[in-house]
Symmetry: none
């Protein structure tokens, strides 16, 4: 499991950790029931405070992605993938809505927006 932390980024470190772990579940790199590193181990390998990792794991547990048991460690929970799907869909819709709203206010045509969207969609492939 490899997580990359960027300090130049404006996103807080604990959020970078959560989002990357979620992405690994989605990509299949982490499967349900699989163990993830202990907070101390991850903190050490990322050169990051234990408190930061703790916050990340707390958030993941709160949102149902992992299950943490004292003395045993943390594990990917059974329906983590569904949670992730929902979350991402919600976010995608939100981005599209904002793009639509601003675009309309600036008199950017729907065709232009679709063109851009298609471009970005194929670009990343």
């Amino acid at each position: 499991m490899e997580i990359i932390i960027s300090t130049n980024n404006n996103k807080p470190i604990y959020e970078q950790i959560t989002s990357q772990i979620k992405a690994m579940v989605m990509s299949g790199e982490l499967s349900q029931g699989e163990a993830i590193p202990s907070m101390r181990a991850l903190a050490k390998s990322l050169h990051v405070s234990v408190i930061t990792v703790q916050k990340a794991y707390e958030d993941l547990q709160r949102d149902g992605f992992i299950e943490t048991t004292v003395g045993r460690g943390s594990f990917i929970s059974a329906n983590s993938m569904d949670f992730y799907q929902e979350e991402q869909q919600r976010q995608t819709e939100q981005y599209l809505q904002q793009a639509a709203e601003i675009g309309r206010n600036c008199n950017i045509s729907l065709e232009k927006l679709i063109e851009l969207l298609t471009l970005f969609y194929q670009e990343d492939e």
Copy 2:
């Protein structure tokens, strides 16, 4: 000129001020060369610290939206609208790109994304 401040919002107050003034320029409610309220006047009417308004005006000036002179006040600058257009286009593209990226990772088809975008675009009308 009417600005609405929401404290429940997670956006800082000075940012709410700047974005609403920019929007007023775009909508034509404020035209080029027109004076905007003095820092003290706006601070008083919004029940907000002078410093907060000052920060907002400072940002607006630095980004070229207004021109401010000691002893005279602040005025909408000549090319404020162009700056606004550019800024909004940049942001729209960013939203579309993020939607495209997440969408692709979640196996949402391009058709589905375009469908959503079209929906949101026409919804606001």
Copy 3:
């Protein structure tokens, strides 16, 4: 006598007035003993507060460029031109010194500086 006030400029208005009057003395547009407009007349024609013009005239008198008599008006003083020459030379030297200092710190060669100076000198002709 024509004075141009720029609000986009970061220089205070009273300073724009003084510097332009001084320049007119130098260029011969204003000669020694000649009357300059009354404060109120100038304020009106420049669409500027009387207090602003008053401050400008005060500075000019303090530096010996004009002589003001209550009830008579203000006149270019006898040795205004000398004062101006001295002042400008002082300022020119100061600019050159600053350019030399910064340039040296940035490892810009003396030749390069002279080249630029020559360029600017001939450019304005």
Copy 4:
């Protein structure tokens, strides 16, 4: 890292801080990636308000000289030196241009200006 604040100076304190930090980068006293004091620490050691230091750091960050992260601190950014070089060159050119302009208006010959410039350039060595 030693910064000297002069209250007799007409330059604002936050500007004195920014310019001295920039100069330290240039002189090599601060290197890329190196940490600079926390706002609170610097404010305390300079007997100055935290807000004043904050304003200085904000400016430095906006101009690309430092990178600052909440909870971590501020660090000299990778290309700080390039930014500094550009800034200084711009300023040098501006000084030379002003010297050229005033000099020409006062009938100071180009030779005389070059002579002065050379003098100042070698004087500081």
